[in-house]
Amino acid sequence: MEENGNKLHKTMTSQPGMSDVVLGCVMPYIDDPKDRDAVSLVCRRWYELDALTRKHITIALCYTTSPDRLRRRFRHLESLKLKGKPRAAMFNLIPEDWGGYVTPWVNEIAENFNCLKAVHFRRMIVKDSDLEVLARSRGKVLQVLKLDKCSGFSTDGLLHVGRLCRQLRTLFLEESSIIEKDGQWLHELAVNNSVLTNLNFYMTDLVKVSFEDLEFIAQNCRNLASVKISDCEILDLVGFFHAASVLEEFCGGSFNEQPERYTAVSFPPRLCRLGLTYMGKNEMPIVFPFASLLKKLDLLYALLDTEDHCLLIQRCPNLEVLETRNVIGDRGLEVLARSCKRLKRLRIERGADEQEMEDEEGVVSQRGLMALAQGCLELEYLAVYVSDITNASLQYIGTYSKNLCDFRLVLLDREERITDLPLDDGVCDLLRGCEKLRRFALYLRPGGLTDVGLGYIGQYSSKVRWMLLGYVGESDAGLLEFSKGCPSLQKLEMRGCCFSERALAASVMQLTSLRYLWVQGYRASESGHDLLAMARPFWNIELIPRIVGEDPVIEHPAHILAYYSLAGPRTDFPESVIPLDPSAAGISS
């Protein structure tokens, strides 16, 4: 290796031109961000070449750097993904005004990023004016615009996008909070665009859109492959489905009429990814004719019970991705394990808590997990809310799910008694068995995992980069043991901890790869000073203090957010967020 390095060094110093040519040919094939990261650290020349040729950057937290720094390093960037609010915002745990404003980034993009074709903002605050600036400056070249779980804008902002971004292939608005004035934006898109391939305003509550505009888009855009909409009556979309001849993915809609009328709906021939919202038992049969083609099924917002799931799933032998609620039940998982051998991704969300709103059979436990592990050997992603769990079921996953990269388990709190706690051994076996694991979430309850178990997590999660831990461990000792391991852990989220500030600070200092920490619910010290033990250069510490509401009486425990930043502390704090300034003598609460 060293010889090679020396050789290269000699080549570079003696014939810089040649090595540049060679590098110039090779570099574009290097896409993986980690590889690029390594490449850029070799020497100055390689750093510069990487900077010139890097196509895409993801900034995991927009406050870790500044638009200016980005421009100085990656002037020719073609694609940018920015994330703002902590992930907890998806669960209503972060104040709406927390931050993550796109404005400074949009302004920089408008002025300097001349090659930028794709923009993805996730969990950020976007204003109509931002959309206007973006559309006016980059509208002619913009091909991808994703406003992913964003808020702060209205359909007026989207008008600019529809009118000016005529090259847009992808418009993605899923789960954004959009103030709806009218449906004109979709009409503008329909009139001005003929190259759209992906249109997504799923889960946005936009109701003033007209199905005629959808049909218009399908007629004009011959490459329309994926459409995910809000609640538009399915019978109104017959014309749309007829026109969208190459459609592969469709989600959304609603069923307000008699079920017999839906037999008249014929779906496009290539449709293989489907999610019909509010679909019930009586409408389900319209999917049967092409169920064997389905690769992805979204039943999160359907109205099916356990039996319905069984009936549908057994007809989908080619299913690769399934998302549903725990109404699928153990029985549904057993059917899934028998029928869907190609399953790669499974997400089982938590259904309604009230007994009368969901099927009695709709609980997932160790029984379903064990069947799943044995049956679906290609599983790469598993996220599940369980009502009961055992060590054995986790051991099964460790034994069979060798391709698992992402595992998330939440133990629901409805049952008083859980069959088999603590889960120390099961977690240990799972981590040791699933060698490809990169993302791991375990959300239990007091007694769910001892300090020993927490130590196992640290010891056996060598490749895990992101973790969410809820109600694990028993004492500070467990956390400290945990933090001796986790060599790859970059982002740690914790909730409901029994750990003290001192232990949290100490563990942060021990986790060698940690660059982001979020904690809610911990043993706070009186002054908050104990957290300062983790004060260090480039490390921003922010608090969202404990809130006690009056009406209704609710309590939000305090959050800690800490992250490395090249841009110094934020300058746009709302009142609800307080920076912890190590240089200050006292901390105001």
């Binding site: 998806m90 669960f91 008699q258 919202t277 999160l300 809820g470 619910g521």
Partner: protein, 243 residues
């Protein structure tokens, strides 16, 4: 009071006329509820009395078939015609005073049937106990569930067991579950509101769970045997959102 038997298509056994416009269906539905109220007041109290009397001879309070009831239309047998339905009505109020003072009419909704029986207080309590035992822990009467129902947002944030943080739910799913619940509650409120009107003892048991779960499971059954359907959100248990 009229002696004529009032026949109410309470569960809409005659298939809803699907050619009707949305607006027409809306009006029809409104009318049918008002109609029920109007019809109730026109019912023959003698008829009611006889029904109640036969109901109260029930040994087993849980034997729905013996008490006067409207059968729900089972999947296999939709052609069953409905008996005429003298239902719970304000006129019944006068009846307890004619019976022994300890008994009161008990109205029970179960699995699409409505039953009225006159029972003494202790019997009523044992019926309550039976129902509570027979169903899950989370059963509440509609009233208390309405009153005690915080918005799911609050639910999210209320401290659960032992001051622990409650498990937070994803926003999109939260909204979906809320919409679904609102839709079913609105429907149930309409029913229960009218039926409970002027009743001295009427309990909508957790067995409404059976009924309203039935609603959610087979909503289009309801469209055939229930009230005429329409497109307005509060009646469309299928899709809470106006398309």
């Amino acid at each position: 009071m009229s002696r004529a038997t009032v026949e109410l298509d309470f569960f809409g056994m005659e298939k809803a006329n699907s050619c009707k416009s949305q607006f027409q269906k809306f009006i029809d539905r409104r009318r049918s509820f008002r109609g029920i109220q109007g019809a109730i007041s026109k019912m023959n109290p003698e008829l009611i009395k006889s029904v109640i009397a036969s109901g109260s001879t029930n040994r087993n309070p849980v034997d729905w078939r013996k008490s006067f009831s409207v059968p729900s239309s089972p999947k296999e047998d939709r052609s069953t015609s409905l008996p005429s339905l003298p239902l719970l009505n304000p006129a019944l109020r006068s009846i307890p005073s004619e019976e022994s003072p300890e008994t009161a009419p008990l109205t029970i909704f179960y699995n699409g049937t409505v039953s009225v029986i006159n029972v003494p207080r202790d019997k009523a309590e044992s019926i309550f106990k039976l129902a509570v035992e027979g169903s899950s822990k989370n059963i509440e009467s509609v009233d208390s569930s309405k009153a005690a129902n915080p918005s799911s947002d609050q639910q999210n944030l209320l401290e659960a067991r032992n001051g622990d943080l409650p498990i937070a739910r994803r926003k999109s799913l939260q909204r979906f579950l809320e919409k679904r619940k609102e839709s079913s509650e609105i429907f149930s409120v309409e029913w229960v509101g009218i039926i409970r009107f002027k009743m001295s003892t009427s309990i909508v048991l957790g067995s409404c769970q059976g009924f309203f779960f039935h609603l959610w499971r087979e909503p289009h059954k309801i469209h055939e045997e229930g009230v005429p359907q329409g497109n307005e959100p509060y009646v469309s248990a299928r899709s809470p959102i106006n398309g």
